[in-house]
């Protein structure tokens, strides 16, 4: 379930307490340091705008299909209200934004999720837009970069949201056949239906320190096996150790890492 405790509050206060070490940090300092605590390295959760700023070249972002709006196929209790609240809170129509952009002067398709929008859950709109992003990358032969953060499929759209997992993964099959690279960047937290579909299918998978990544929620696992989970379980470093992500880099090195990888994989396509 969505929890936004560690998200940077857009608020009035000049200071922010670090969730990692408890240090009180001056907000401006935090912002200039990629929202990472400069004492302990704790990575605060950040929103789509920040990732766009961090990964894409300045002023290169051109968003597409921002106006797609969810339906309510199951007439699920309180879903329209939930959507309305999420829209108000985030200023976004749903939990995924995508568009064209440049990354290290390479034309790319970039997509990013918003955990603040109903826990970044994937319903029809997220599924459709992710599929469109993948298709655009294939049609225009642009590398695809997706920053994924999500609690999984959107329960309120029931089986329809489960099918978005198949929809996005199938499109990635075509992208792979077309030999267009896809860099997946699952960040804190990314679990369940999104991790079990497009977020795990990157040609290269990059994550950030201490990001929670995995299939099942921790409470579900604890209830199932009847014991407490070891520290560090499902964190990015755990995923790295078990061979499930390629590389874990501090946020300040995210873009540089993406560019280095693309400059090799996309070497033949570049006209720098």
């Amino acid at each position: 379930m969505p929890d936004s405790e560690s998200r940077v509050k857009p608020a009035d206060t000049l200071w922010q307490r670090c969730n990692g070490c408890g240090e009180i940090i001056y907000r401006k300092t935090l912002e200039s340091n990629f929202h990472v605590c400069n004492r302990c390295g704790y990575h605060f959760r950040i929103g789509p705008e920040e990732y766009i700023r961090i990964i894409l070249d300045e002023n290169s972002w051109e968003e597409l299909d921002a106006d797609l709006i969810a339906g309510d196929p199951l007439r699920f209790p309180k879903y329209p209200e939930k959507l309305r609240e999420a829209r108000q809170k985030t200023g976004r129509n749903d939990a995924f934004s995508y568009g064209r952009g440049m990354c290290g002067r390479i034309p790319v398709v970039f997509g990013v999720m918003d955990f603040g929008f109903i826990g970044g859950s994937m319903g029809s709109v997220v599924g459709e837009k992710v599929a469109r992003a993948i298709r655009l990358a294939r049609k225009e032969s642009r590398p695809l970069i997706i920053v994924a953060t999500s609690g999984g499929a959107r329960m309120q759209e029931g089986i329809i949201s489960l099918m978005q997992m198949a929809k996005t993964s199938a499109e990635l099959g075509l992208l792979r056949q077309a030999r267009v690279p896809y860099i997946a960047i699952p960040v804190d937290p990314c679990t369940a239906g999104v991790m079990a579909s497009f977020a795990s299918l990157g040609d290269v998978i990059i994550s950030e320190p201490n990001a929670l990544l995995g299939f099942a929620g921790q409470r579900v696992i604890e209830d199932t096996i009847g014991e407490k989970l070891p520290p560090g379980f499902q964190r990015a470093e755990f995923m790295l150790r078990h061979g499930l992500v390629d590389v874990v880099v501090p946020r300040r090195n995210l873009k540089e890492t993406v560019v280095r990888i693309l400059s090799v994989l996309w070497y033949r396509h570049q006209s720098l």
Binding site: M1, I69, A70, G71, D72, P73, L74, F76, P77, S124, V125, G127, E128, A131, A153, M155, E157, G158, I159, I160, S161, L162, M163, Q164, M165, A166, K167, S169, A170, E171, L172, G173, L174, R176, Q177, T191, A192, G193, M195, A196, S197, F198, A199, S200, L201, L213, F215, A216, G217, V220, I221, T224, I225, L229, F233, Q234, F238, H242, G243, L244
Partner: protein, 323 residues
Amino acid sequence: MPATQNQGWLDFEQPLVELLDRLEEVTALGAAQEVERIQKQIEELKLKLYSQLTPWQRVQMARHPRRPYTLDYIERICNDFVELHGDRAFGDDPAIIAGLGKIDTVPFAIVGHQKGRDTKEKLARNFGMPHPEGYRKALRIMDLAARFEVPILCLVDTPGAYPGIGAEERGQAEAIARNLREMALLEVPIIVIVTGEGGSGGALAIAVGDRILMQENAVYSVISPEGCAAILWRDGSKAEEAAAVLKMTAPDLLSLGVIDEIVPEPPGGAHQDWDEAAKLLKKAVLANYYYLNTLPGSELVSRRIARFNSIGVFQTPENNPRQ
């Protein structure tokens, strides 16, 4: 199979169980008239009990301890089945069956979840909840089938992919995701039948196909009713209400356009008559196979992808609802 010697009947089936017991008694006594009378009562009661099932009763039927499982169907629909084991990397997952055989004269690769019948087998099969190696075995066999132009039948019946430490360490999410991507591209007919519980991603991981069917009393959902109730009302015991809200029965999925067809079950459900249930299932498999077999592999793939692409309910800016 004698009706009541084994346990596992549901609460609302108790009147039926009593009649079945009586039938057994009078049959033993050789009272022909009485036998006939009770048989008639049984048929009437079945009609009454099972024709108006609530969503929650459907969930119970889908999870029925006496319901036939994948191997029970394979035994009845398939000749010369050879089960194949292992993912060639970590191990063999008994929660997933994979193998090759013929249905009538048609060669098939069959993949399915497998639950256990008694306590020992339930544990061995992990209650039909696969680990990553299960999904990887399934994909290995499906890929094998595709390379030799052999159609694929997937039987889906799982509470979900196993949420455990080993499963996470070995990449449960990746295993499921990879199956979704690869199944979309296999150039042979894939027929999927949800025979019991279609438990979320753990079900979908072997359910990307050209024809997606559900048995009459199967359910298929993004989350269990218990899980949904826990989130919605912080009360897992409200599963009955959640089952209705989730629209997870076969008729629901048919009207949502997610499945193509409902496979009928014998009166009172598949657990009343395994042979008849298998016969009906086999009929559906072959009918769909003969239809799909007319299409070239590349056409199957493009239609399969288009099918999943078309699922989604949202509105475009002009406010045209699009399905």
